[in-house]
């Protein structure tokens, strides 16, 4: 290549918007009969304190263990004589009242890990606590069912283990336009064309070439599809609101992507929990409400299901820093238009029967929830994706 051409091409400004030929390859994304169902996964990262999210305000054990941080009865958004949502969840509680939500209490797994990383890995890989898996359950879904990286998008700068398979990874992008522009560079097109064999090798270099090729075709596909759609809905002006807007735009523009993942961090409230959690739940609540309203408006809500989880709950007993330490089982929220179980799926966690660490014991294995979503929503045999056999719960 001529030096001049190289210099000219190295600038992003010179990228021209051509519809590239390799778009054809992406048209081959298989559309199964259930392919139009979308699953949005939200992680409240850090371990949301479920006991202060859905509060058992009459429970003496709750009140006694949390002298400073117990939520005041009169501030709660009551859903029954004994239960109320945190005051920050106003918009969210409205979804509950409309029957768009199912709350699964005490979701977890045997021998829970109280490490963020390990427990996040367990939730993301759908492993047992004594089992180390190198792929995420969504990554395996891509590999076994979709067979295309475009089947799942993480709206973030980096790709989580959840989205990683052995040979297929999902795509991470916060901004399709930016992503597209970055991949359009004639110099790299030449480099990639030259090395047709390298990307087949097991060496790290092969991995780099393969990733570059995938990036290029995926970026083009996502950008071409989504650029025509611009959500008119109003989202909260924060990073989480922006992530949800991006997901909405992808869903509404007809992207075949089935699974979306975003996370909202900061829930690791070891100290001075009250204000931190109040702020975070408000961000979550208002974001979710905007998202649901947006999808309702476009008619996409009926085909969209939102799963919200945390890697663990927090300990019942507050600590001396007016925070809570890492706990075990926690609640999971499902949001959708037509759920089989509207409201509480099961009774709230039993605070009278805790494990040896003083944490909530699990009643529902989180992999039962995954199995249900795979079977009942995505129309896939759970055993293709999950290691072991798990119950389906009749959720959707």
């Amino acid at each position: 290549m001529k030096r001049r051409t190289f210099i000219k091409n190295s600038s992003l400004a010179s990228s021209t918007l051509l519809v590239p030929g390799f778009l054809k390859a992406c048209d081959a994304l298989p559309l199964t009969s259930e392919g139009h169902k979308k699953l949005v996964i939200i992680q409240l990262a850090g371990g949301n304190d479920g006991l202060n999210t859905l509060v058992q305000f009459r429970n003496d054990i709750y009140l006694k263990n949390r002298p400073v941080i117990a939520q005041k009865k009169e501030q709660l958004l009551k859903v029954s004589d004994e239960l109320g949502f945190h005051e920050s969840l106003k918009a969210f509680t409205a979804l509950y009242d409309q029957g768009h939500m199912c709350v699964l209490n005490s979701v977890g797994y045997p021998n829970p890990s109280r490490s963020h990383f390990r427990s996040t890995d367990i939730w993301q890989t759908a492993s047992g606590s004594d089992q180390y898996l190198r792929t995420g359950w969504v990554g395996r879904y891509l590999e076994e069912v979709v067979k295309n990286p475009l089947g799942a998008i993480e709206v973030d700068d980096t790709l989580s283990l959840l989205m990683k398979g052995e040979t297929i990874n999902g795509i991470a992008t916060k901004d399709p336009r930016l992503f597209y522009k970055t991949t359009r560079d004639p110099y790299f097109s030449n480099v990639l064309r030259t090395n047709t064999d390298i990307h087949l090798s097991e060496h790290n270099l092969g991995y780099l070439y393969k990733t570059a090729l995938e990036a290029k075709s995926s970026a083009a596909y996502i950008y071409e599809k989504t650029k025509v759609y611009d959500s008119k809905a109003v989202y909260p002006k924060n990073a989480f609101g922006k992530q949800l807007r991006t997901i909405s735009e992808m869903v509404n523009s007809g992207l075949e992507t089935q699974i979306y993942y975003a996370s909202l961090g900061g829930f690791d409230t070891h100290a001075n929990q009250l204000n931190a959690q109040k702020r975070l739940l408000k961000i979550y609540s208002e974001g979710m409400r905007a998202f649901v309203d947006d999808l309702k408006g476009t008619g996409a809500f009926k085909d969209t299901l939102v799963l919200t989880f945390s890697e663990f709950g927090r300990r019942l007993k507050q600590n001396t820093a007016n925070g809570t330490d890492h706990g075990a089982a926690n609640m999971v929220f499902l949001i959708g238009e037509d759920l089989k179980h509207k409201g509480m799926y099961n009774t709230p966690s039993n605070l009278a029967s805790l494990d040896a660490n003083g944490d909530i014991e699990y009643e529902i294995d989180f992999r039962d929830v995954y199995a249900s979503l795979l079977k009942e929503w995505l129309g896939t045999e759970p055993s293709k994706v999950l290691d072991g056999s798990f119950k389906t719960l009749g959720l959707v």
């Binding site: 400004a13 992008t173 970055t182 790299f188 990036a215």
Partner: protein
């Protein structure tokens, strides 16, 4: 030693080697090359940035009022100083004569992971890593446990008798010394008791606060006694699992992500003798298997390695410290801002579609006045004032390049030799063929093109 081996050693144990230095070392035996590597890192030069406003505040002995305007201003200053310190650290790595010590400092920063809002604490922690980087591991663990940045980060500041906070005790074992599966939940509880009262004062000075320290009997990893924090560290290091855990971490970082249990065991045996970090590193760099061709050019550079490598070859400086931070963020590694206490996962996890594209663009963006697109609003906490609001989608970075130094170091090399210095010894047939199609007008532009290849991402 073969040139390719010296290059491999310096890429893994330091931050690459300039052609002239490589020329001087080539032909010497491995023992003296390795000895010189350690000799040159003997001294420890602290890294600090001036913090006059914060110093003045502390010197004035003002009662700290967290709600006051002055305090909030101080927090803002501290945040800005982190950006400056980040740049100073990257500059240090790119220009240091103590490559091994700086390499180890970076390695340990991803092992003993902290994040602090207080620049004085961050800086002090960073220098504690630098001090102990090649020293005794036991002293290192204890020193780290007493650092204000660590006491804050893992909540030991709130760990008190009768109401223990387990965060530090748990991560000490899970991430710093033993790894999951070598202790029980009970061991964590008992260890947490032993660290009660380990705190720092408002200036960051460590103090054992006896009033809230639990000096009672503890049963920890099968041993019962009136253990304090130092005892806990001692008992942990008596476990073979500890030496093995660190040996594996060293192997994964310095040799290969795919582990070899025999080689890790060799390292663990050497390490366990005295827990001297220099001993195990020396053993590693002397081992024949370290120079196995399958390890050479196989490691995916971390974002910081990539940046430092570019800065070493074509000396350049960041006129705006913030721009360096943005680039680090796009690449997935902002120094002083690890994602969590486990640090960055390294290896292939650095690479996804997004980060790879940025990596391939980087040489032309930095060195060829290319432009880079930043995600705007809602992305970077404090990017707004730094970037032109109207025109921030694409911009050129404020970089000062020293092409004369590049010319002095690389200008006289043939193109083939330049390929060796930039990409390493093993370049594929396809790539070699591709290189032939490139126009070789001068070393400078040829070099930028080499750096834009996927091959440059490896070391």
């Amino acid at each position: 030693m073969e040139k390719a081996h010296i290059q491999h050693l310096y890429r893994r144990a330091g931050f690459d080697i300039l052609p002239k230095e490589l020329e001087i070392l080539s032909g010497k035996d491995r023992k003296s090359v390795v000895a010189q590597l350690f000799e040159s890192s003997k001294k420890m030069v602290p890294l600090t940035v001036p913090t006059p406003k914060i110093d003045a505040y502390l010197d004035s002995n003002t009662q700290i009022d967290r709600k006051s305007k002055a305090f909030k201003e101080l927090i803002r200053t501290s945040r800005q100083k982190h950006v400056v310190f980040n740049r100073a650290w990257v500059n240090r790595m790119a220009t240091t004569g103590q490559g091994l010590r700086e390499r180890m400092t970076l390695f340990w920063a991803n092992h003993f992971v902290v994040r602090s809002n207080n620049i004085l604490f961050s800086q002090q922690f960073n220098n504690t890593l630098r001090t102990h980087a090649l020293g005794n591991f036991k002293e290192f663990v204890i020193a780290v446990a007493k650092e204000p940045a660590m006491l804050d980060y893992l909540n030991n500041q709130q760990n008190r008798k009768g109401a223990p906070n387990e965060n530090f005790a748990r991560e000490l074992m899970e991430l710093f010394t033993l790894g999951v599966g070598h202790y029980t939940e009970m061991d964590i509880k008992e260890a947490a008791r032993a660290f009660t009262g380990w705190r720092h004062d408002s200036r960051g000075t460590f103090k054992l606060t006896n009033r809230i320290h639990d000096d009672g009997e503890k049963s920890f990893l099968g041993k019962t006694g009136l253990w304090n924090g130092e005892d806990i560290v001692r008992i942990i290091l008596e476990q073979p699992a500890c030496a093995h855990f660190i040996a594996e971490k060293i192997y994964r970082h310095f040799v290969n992500e795919e582990t070899n249990s025999n080689h890790i065991e060799e390292l663990a045996i050497v390490f366990r003798k005295e827990y001297q970090i220099a001993d195990v590193m020396k053993y590693l760099f002397m081992a024949d298997w370290f120079y196995d061709p399958k390890h050479m050019g196989h490691k995916i550079k971390s974002p910081v390695d990539l940046l430092v490598g570019l800065m070493k070859t074509v000396p350049f400086t960041w006129d705006k410290a913030k721009e360096l931070k943005y680039i680090e963020r796009l690449l997935g590694q902002v120094l002083l801002e690890p994602p969590n206490v486990a640090g960055w996962a390294e290896g292939r996890s650095w690479i996804d579609a997004n980060t790879l594209m940025i990596r391939l663009k980087l040489p032309s963006v930095l060195l060829n006045d290319g432009e880079i697109a930043f995600d705007v609003k809602g992305e970077f906490e404090d990017s707004f004032e730094a970037f032109d609001q109207k025109n921030n989608f694409r911009r050129k970075l404020a970089i000062t390049k020293n092409w004369n130094r590049f010319k002095a170091n690389y200008g006289a090399l043939t193109y083939d030799v330049l390929v060796f210095h930039i990409l390493g010894a093993s370049v594929s047939k396809e790539t070699n063929h591709f290189l032939k199609t490139l126009e070789k007008e001068d070393q400078r532009n040829f070099c930028i093109q080499l750096m834009s290849l996927p091959e440059y991402q490896l070391c």
